[in-house]
């Protein structure tokens, strides 16, 4: 059986909607993972032990098991305890929490990497703890933190393919539906791969630009 890409254009609307879903899930997941990561890292660094330990346990759990398994747990587990949410929401929560844990590690390291003297100096100058954090620590930490978090967001784009398994019609699942009608997996998976690669390139180029700006501001 030869390859015949002429079957693809017929499904182009379908595939593009899938790609839009992928883009939206990535964006929402990235948003959740970013702010979740900040929240976790603040708790881990400054929180009371009674909240710190549960978060640490949660991080350990999420770093030690596959994302796919976590997606199953969130999607089917929430149903078990009586919360029925759409697969797309379960997917976004799963991706968001998974990457929040990784982002939290990066943010913690970034904050801890700022010299202690900076903190002491700011406090000596009469700044409050909050002011020190906001005007002295954060601006310095951001430079170390942005590139690896950007890489995580690109990884999140690729891992968003996993939510197809819980039945979200994003790029992979849309391709699967087209394949079930045409029986041409190669053509449609190549098309999906090209689209992922394109989104990936756009994100990478954006990240490199931001990195260059950060380097210039040092």
């Amino acid at each position: 059986m030869g390859l015949d890409f002429s079957v693809v254009p017929e499904f182009s609307d379908f595939i593009l909607i899938g790609a839009l879903y992928t883009f939206g899930i990535t964006l929402a997941g990235a948003f959740l993972s970013f702010f979740g990561g900040i929240a976790f890292s603040v708790i881990m660094l400054y929180g009371h032990w009674s909240i710190r330990y549960p978060i640490r346990f949660f991080s350990w759990l999420f770093m030690g098991t596959p994302l796919l398994l976590q997606l199953f747990l969130i999607y089917f587990g929430l149903v078990q305890i009586g919360i029925d949410i759409p697969a797309v929401v379960a997917g976004i929560i799963g991706l968001g929490l998974h990457f929040a844990v990784y982002n939290s590690d990066i943010i913690q390291a970034g904050i801890l990497a700022v010299d202690k003297g900076q903190h002491e100096g700011a406090r000596t100058l009469g700044m409050s703890r909050l002011q020190t954090f906001r005007y002295v620590i954060i601006p310095q930490a951001v430079r170390d933190v942005v590139p690896p978090i950007g890489n995580n967001m690109i990884a999140l784009l690729k891992d968003s393919a996993l939510v197809s398994v819980i039945g979200v019609t994003e790029l992979v699942h849309a391709s699967q539906l087209a394949i079930s009608e045409t029986f041409r997996p190669f053509e449609f998976y190549i098309t999906a791969a090209v689209l992922y690669y394109a989104i990936n390139l756009i994100m990478e180029t954006g990240l490199r630009r931001v990195e260059r700006k950060i380097e210039a501001s040092r």
Binding site: G64, L69, L73, P185, Y197
Partner: protein, 215 residues
């Protein structure tokens, strides 16, 4: 928590965990070979090798592993590649992680001071000898830890092959979630087994890393 149910299905999970370990070992071995070859390609002075290796790393890091697996397993037969699920899983994952390992290895080699290679050349070593006897032994030590990170990620990535119906840990968990409607228990079982595998692999990496430093 239904502990009785968990002990009843545990033997099936342990059997599945063995498949996960086999997949991890095979794909990591293939990944190391692909990584080393493409790292060599990217550092080569031959433009063609450089281009092939760069394209390999860029494409396989730039698209989801799941798509790569589907392409190999479902799309393969269209272009004459017929593989059973396990073989497709091991090969697909190995080629995927190879692209990441390539970057790790290249990073470690580039991190070795140029002066080392220059000094070796001045002492009369050939280019190959300078690389093999001077640069590589130093770079190899730098590689162990980041490769450990790749290996950790790879063990978790083996879960993907459940989507091409390889009966490994995640597939088994999924099947039992479907038949028992007990996601938390099944997740706990599979999660514990994944963590044990990752812990053992992590200890192995730490051991190698310590040994390398002592040398």
């Amino acid at each position: 928590m239904d502990v009785e149910l968990m002990t009843k299905v545990a033997p099936f999970f342990i059997e599945a965990a063995i498949v996960t370990v086999q997949l991890s070992i095979l794909s990591i071995a293939l990944g190391l070979v692909m990584g080393a070859l493409s790292a060599a390609g990217r550092l080569s002075s031959v433009l063609l090798f450089r281009m092939i290796a760069t394209a390999y790393v860029s494409v396989f890091r730039g698209t989801p592993a799941l798509i790569q697996l589907f392409l190999l397993y479902f799309g393969g037969p269209q272009v004459g590649i017929n593989l059973d699920p396990f073989a497709a899983g091991a090969i697909g994952l190995g080629i995927n992680i190879g692209a990441y390992m390539s970057e790790t290895m290249r990073g470690a080699i580039v991190a070795i001071n140029r002066g080392q290679a220059e000094a070796a050349r001045t002492l009369g070593l050939s280019r190959f000898q300078a690389f093999y006897k001077v640069v590589l032994p130093q770079a190899a030590r730098l590689m162990i830890r980041p490769l450990g990170v790749n290996i950790n990620a790879q063990i978790k990535a083996t879960a993907l092959v459940s989507a091409i119906s390889v009966v490994e840990l995640t597939y088994t968990a999924q099947r039992y979630i479907g038949s028992t409607y007990r996601p938390f228990e099944m997740f706990a079982l599979a999660g514990i087994l994944y963590m044990i595998i990752i812990y053992i692999a992590g200890r192995g990496v730490t051991y190698l890393d310590k040994k390398a430093v002592i040398q």
